[in-house]
Amino acid sequence: MIADQLPALQIVIPMLAAPLCVLVKRSNACWAIALVANVLVVINAFALLHQVRTDGVIRYALGGWAAPTGIEYYVDTMNAIMLLLVSFISCVTLVFAYTSVKKTVVTGKHYLFYAAWMLCLTGLLGISITGDAFNVFVFLEISSLATYMLLAFGSDRRALTASFRYLIMGSVGASFILIGIGFLYAATGALNMVDLAQRIPDAESQRAVLVAFSFLTIGLMIKAAVFPLHGWLANAYQHAPIAVTAFLAGTATKVSLYVLLRFFFSIFGPNYSFGAMLLNVVLLPAAIVGFLLLSLVAIFQTDLRRMLAYSSVAQIGYIVAAFCLATQSGLTAGIVHIINHGIIKTALFMSVGCIIYRVGHAHIGSLDNLMKKMPLTVTAFIISGLGLIGVPLTVGFISKFSLIGASLERGWWMVGALVLVSSLFAIVYVGRVVEIMVFRSSRTDTPEPTGMREAPMSMLVPMYVLIGISLWFGISGSTTLSVASEAAAALLGGYQ
């Protein structure tokens, strides 16, 4: 019986944890509730992925109302991957958050922090699981509102303005998505994604569908921080509590990218998106300029978090470029990079979190000789930094290799070449930090800060769990690649 209810439990468990946190109010108890819920959600997502891979697509009718009338949860391999990625990263960062939240968030507000975290998780999981276009908007707003709140918990007052700017951009983006869904409904009379996919070929010639497509594209590009619309991201990532940054960097933009995939491939279909609408003429240059320019911008940052934030936008550029290939191997590369980048970027932000926890700031210039004081943290930073560059035996290599392979296969060798160029920039911006942390000896005039030692275990363990996974995926790339290619096949095949 419980096997049938897995899709609902995926949402209900974190949603239940949020009001429980508000009721209980004691900081440690809230953390425990959130963690238990999160672990359950991870197990649930594992079970779902397994179920989908063995038995095929799961459709779950909420309230017992069958698909076109009611809202349904639709799980195929793609959704299951996203569910697992989001819940796992949330789980690991939640463990990580325990110590850093104690230090940065005002004591009386911890319960609100964890409740908002759970709501954000609910929203992100909901976006990933739902098979109803309007439901996507609702869950998007749940996760966004919780995100604004989480961002504003930052200890710096600039966190407030960063959060407000994200709120404005995010609301405009979500409103655009709402308009797009409205026009789609007007043109086809359907909100269910499977239904929409069936009806759009007949309505394709209508101008309303075209308008809907444009609005959805722009709205989702804002939410996913694709290059020209990434303005909100750097400030938000820099000033948020570091655990939140680690959580969001691995999940929020990735989930928006998933929605982008869902709309372009499953609902509109690749022929419409990339054939009739010439999406790759618009998106591919944006993606390429994005990953080149922002890798370059990342080199000149003085704050470690900001550098990683710009690098995130660049990585999103890779993913979008991979989508634009619109082939089986291109999509596989994109999906693999969603997973891999989620893992390494979270690990990187965690190592920055460890640094901030001990040093108190993340100015790159004054992190000299950190290797001596915090060897484990710096090692973690180096390993995941190598992953970001794409050195063999790391996850980054797998995704870049498959991306370049896919672009050569499509005959767009320029894309592959430019990816390599931007990897060179990545070597520079990661290398610069590593050089300072490992090789530059302390300036003698600055007094040695007392009490400088390794970060606490509760922060190191989750970080190394992620790094272990990233190494495992890097060495045996076939695990992720096979799952991702299944997901790509599901997306390209459309709804059955």
Partner: protein, 120 residues
């Protein structure tokens, strides 16, 4: 005449553009929120207009009535209105906090304070 017959949509477009303009052009954070509110309201109108059936009444079953308006857009927009209220509340709470911290809600002044902070 068809253009005039679509006057609902003209209202939607005018409100939408007005909202977006306020959102982009005003520096005062409260005014920005008003712009966002107008913008979101225009979307509500869009949905409601979509759901209207010429000659249809409210979708409550009664004798002698054959034609009903489509209730689904109303339900959707009820959700969107609630979301809008929540967004406004969060934004206003943020503005209050920003005012407490920066002593101003003019975005250009806040930017000046922030960039001064960045340099030091």
């Amino acid at each position: 005449m068809q253009v005039l017959g679509l006057y609902n949509y003209w209202v939607v477009i005018i409100l939408m553009m007005a909202g977006l303009y306020i959102l982009i052009a005003r520096y005062n954070l409260i005014k920005k929120m008003i712009g966002l509110g107008v913008f979101q309201t225009s979307i509500f109108y869009l949905y409601i207009t979509m759901g209207k059936v010429q000659g249809g009444t409210a979708p409550i079953l009664a004798d002698g009535i054959e034609q009903y308006s489509n209730p689904l857009p109303h339900v959707l927009i009820l959700t969107a209105i609630v979301v809008g209220v929540a967004t406004t509340a969060v934004a206003l709470a943020l503005i209050v906090r920003i005012y407490e911290e920066f002593d101003t809600i003019e975005e250009d002044e806040i930017k000046a304070i922030e960039s001064a902070e960045q340099d030091s």
